[in-house]
C-alpha cells in the first residue's frame, strides 16, 4: 500500500495533468460547432472500430440476455404477423364481398357465420343477422362464389340456414353450357349430386351448374358448382357428381339475398297441383 501510495505520489503531476486535460475535453465537447461535430464523428469511428475488434470475443451473459430479448421480440412479432395476416385475409374476403354486393341486382344483407354443422346429414349454419335486418324464411344465402343455402328459421338478430350439405335442401339447377335441367341434392354421404338427368343428356365434366328459372326458392343464374364425375347410374339416369364453388369448411361471411318467390306463381302452381290430383 505504501509502495502504491509512493508510486502514485510520483505520478501526481501526471494525474493532475490528465485530470485537467479531461476537464478541458469535457468543456470542449459541450460546444456544438462544426469542429466538435467532426471530432465526434472521428471519435465514433474510432470507438466503433475498437468495439468491432472486441466484438469477436463472445460475451456469454450478454448473449443470453440478447437471446432472451430476441425470443420475446420474436413472440411479439409472430403475434403481430398473425394478426396482420388475419386482417389481410379478412380484408380480401370483404373486398370480394363488397365487389359482389355492388354487382348483384338484389338487395342483400351481410352476415357472419357464428355457428356451423358439417358432419350431420342435415347441416345448417347460424348467421348473426335476423328479422331486424329484414331476413325472412325462404331467402337464399350466397357468397361471392356461389350458392350456400336457404334461410329456414329466423329470430330478431339471428337466423338459421340449410346449406347444400343438407338432405332436405333440393335446388333446381341447369347446366350453363347445354341448358340441361336437374335437381341438386346432397346424398348425405359426402357427395352432392345432380339428379333427374337422363342418360342421353349433354352433361360433361367441368360444366358449370347454376340455379334454374324453374326454382321457386332461388333466383336463376346463381352459380352452384361444376361437374366432376359423369357416368351412368342405371338405364335411365346419369350419375353426376358436383363440386360446390363454396367451400363450406372455410366460409365465414355470407349474403342473404332479399328475394322471395312470387306469391302469384306459387299459388297458381299449388292450385294446378291440387286440380290435377
Amino acid at each position: 500500500m505504501k509502495i502504491l501510495l509512493s508510486y502514485l505520489g510520483n505520478l501526481k503531476e501526471y494525474i493532475i495533468f490528465s485530470a485537467l486535460i479531461v476537464i478541458s475535453l469535457l468543456l470542449i465537447f459541450q460546444n456544438d460547432n462544426v469542429q466538435i461535430r467532426f471530432v465526434r464523428v472521428i471519435a465514433v469511428n474510432v470507438i466503433g472500430t475498437i468495439q468491432d475488434g472486441f466484438s469477436i470475443i463472445p460475451n456469454i451473459f450478454e448473449l443470453e440476455r440478447e437471446n432472451k430479448s430476441l425470443r420475446e421480440t420474436n413472440i411479439d412479432l409472430s403475434k403481430e404477423l398473425s394478426m396482420l395476416k388475419e386482417a389481410k385475409l379478412e380484408n380480401l374476403r370483404l373486398n370480394q364481398m363488397l365487389e359482389f354486393k355492388q354487382r348483384t341486382n338484389y338487395r342483400v344483407a351481410t352476415g357472419k357465420i357464428i355457428g356451423k354443422t358439417l358432419i350431420q346429414t342435415r347441416n345448417n349454419i347460424t348467421i348473426n343477422i335476423g328479422e331486424n335486418d329484414s331476413v325472412k324464411i325462404g331467402m337464399p344465402v350466397i357468397t361471392d362464389r356461389g350458392l350456400v343455402g336457404k334461410i329456414v328459421a329466423t329470430s330478431g338478430n339471428y337466423s338459421i340456414a340449410q346449406i347444400l350439405l343438407n338432405k332436405d335442401l333440393k335446388v333446381s339447377a341447369k347446366d350453363q353450357r347445354s341448358r340441361v335441367d336437374g335437381i341438386i341434392a346432397w346424398d348425405g354421404e359426402g357427395k352432392i349430386r345432380m339428379k333427374n338427368v337422363s342418360k342421353s343428356a349433354d352433361v360433361k365434366v367441368g360444366d358449370l351448374l347454376i340455379t334454374s328459372e324453374y326454382s321457386n326458392s332461388f333466383p336463376a343464374g346463381i352459380p352452384i358448382g361444376y361437374v366432376t364425375t359423369d357416368n351412368t347410374l342405371d338405364n335411365l339416369f346419369k350419375n353426376i357428381e358436383v363440386e360446390c364453388f363454396v367451400n363450406f369448411q372455410t366460409v365465414e361471411e355470407v349474403f342473404v339475398l332479399k328475394f322471395l318467390s312470387e306469391d302469384e306463381r306459387r299459388d297458381l302452381e299449388k292450385k294446378y297441383g291440387e286440380k290435377s290430383k
Partner: protein, 164 residues
C-alpha cells in the same frame, strides 16, 4: 502564497493585454498575433514546475475561452499542455540561466509550437485545410511572432541582473 498571487497577477495582466491591445499588431492575411500569455505561462512553468504550470495554463486558457465566447475549453486544453511542457524546464540550478538567456526564447518557442498545434488542429477540424497548411499559415507564424516578443522579458531580466 504571495509568490502565487504574483504569478496570477502577471498572467491576468497578460490576458487583459492579449484580449485588448494585441489585436492592433496582427500580421499576415491570417491575422496572426503574438501569444503573450504563453510567455507568462512558460515563466511560471520554469519557476514552479509541471503541476503549477499546467494548472496555470488551464486557468489562463479557461479565462481566454470565456472572453472569446466561442469554443469553450479549447484554449484551456492547449494552454494546459503547454504549461505542463514548460514544467519540464523547472530546474532550480538552471532556472536563472533559462530565464535570462536565449534559452527562454527556445523554451517559449517549443511551448508555443505545442500550444498552437493543439489549438489550431482542433480549431480547423471539419475544414479543408491540411495539417501542413495549418502549420505553415498559423502554427509557425504565431510561434515566431510569440518568440520575438519573448525577447522583451529576457532583455529586462538581463538588465536587472547587470544592475545588481
Amino acid at each position: 502564497m504571495m509568490e502565487y498571487l504574483k504569478y496570477a497577477g502577471i498572467l491576468l495582466g497578460l490576458i487583459i493585454i492579449q484580449k485588448t491591445a494585441v489585436s492592433f499588431i496582427d500580421v499576415t492575411e491570417f491575422k496572426i498575433t503574438p501569444d503573450l500569455v504563453i510567455i507568462g505561462l512558460v515563466y511560471v512553468g520554469i519557476k514552479k514546475g509541471k503541476i503549477t504550470g499546467s494548472a496555470a495554463g488551464f486557468a489562463a486558457g479557461l479565462i481566454l475561452d470565456i472572453f472569446s465566447f466561442s469554443f469553450i475549453g479549447l484554449m484551456a486544453l492547449s494552454k494546459t499542455i503547454a504549461g505542463f511542457a514548460s514544467g519540464f524546464f523547472n530546474d532550480e540550478q538552471k532556472e536563472e540561466r533559462y530565464l535570462n538567456s536565449y534559452i527562454f526564447i527556445i523554451i517559449v518557442s517549443i511551448c508555443s509550437v505545442i500550444n498552437n498545434t493543439v489549438y489550431y488542429v482542433f480549431y480547423f477540424q471539419g475544414t479543408n485545410l491540411l495539417f501542413v497548411d495549418i502549420l505553415i499559415r498559423y502554427v509557425l507564424p504565431t510561434t515566431v511572432y510569440t518568440a520575438l516578443f519573448s525577447v522583451i522579458p529576457v532583455i529586462f531580466a538581463r538588465r536587472r541582473r547587470f544592475a545588481r
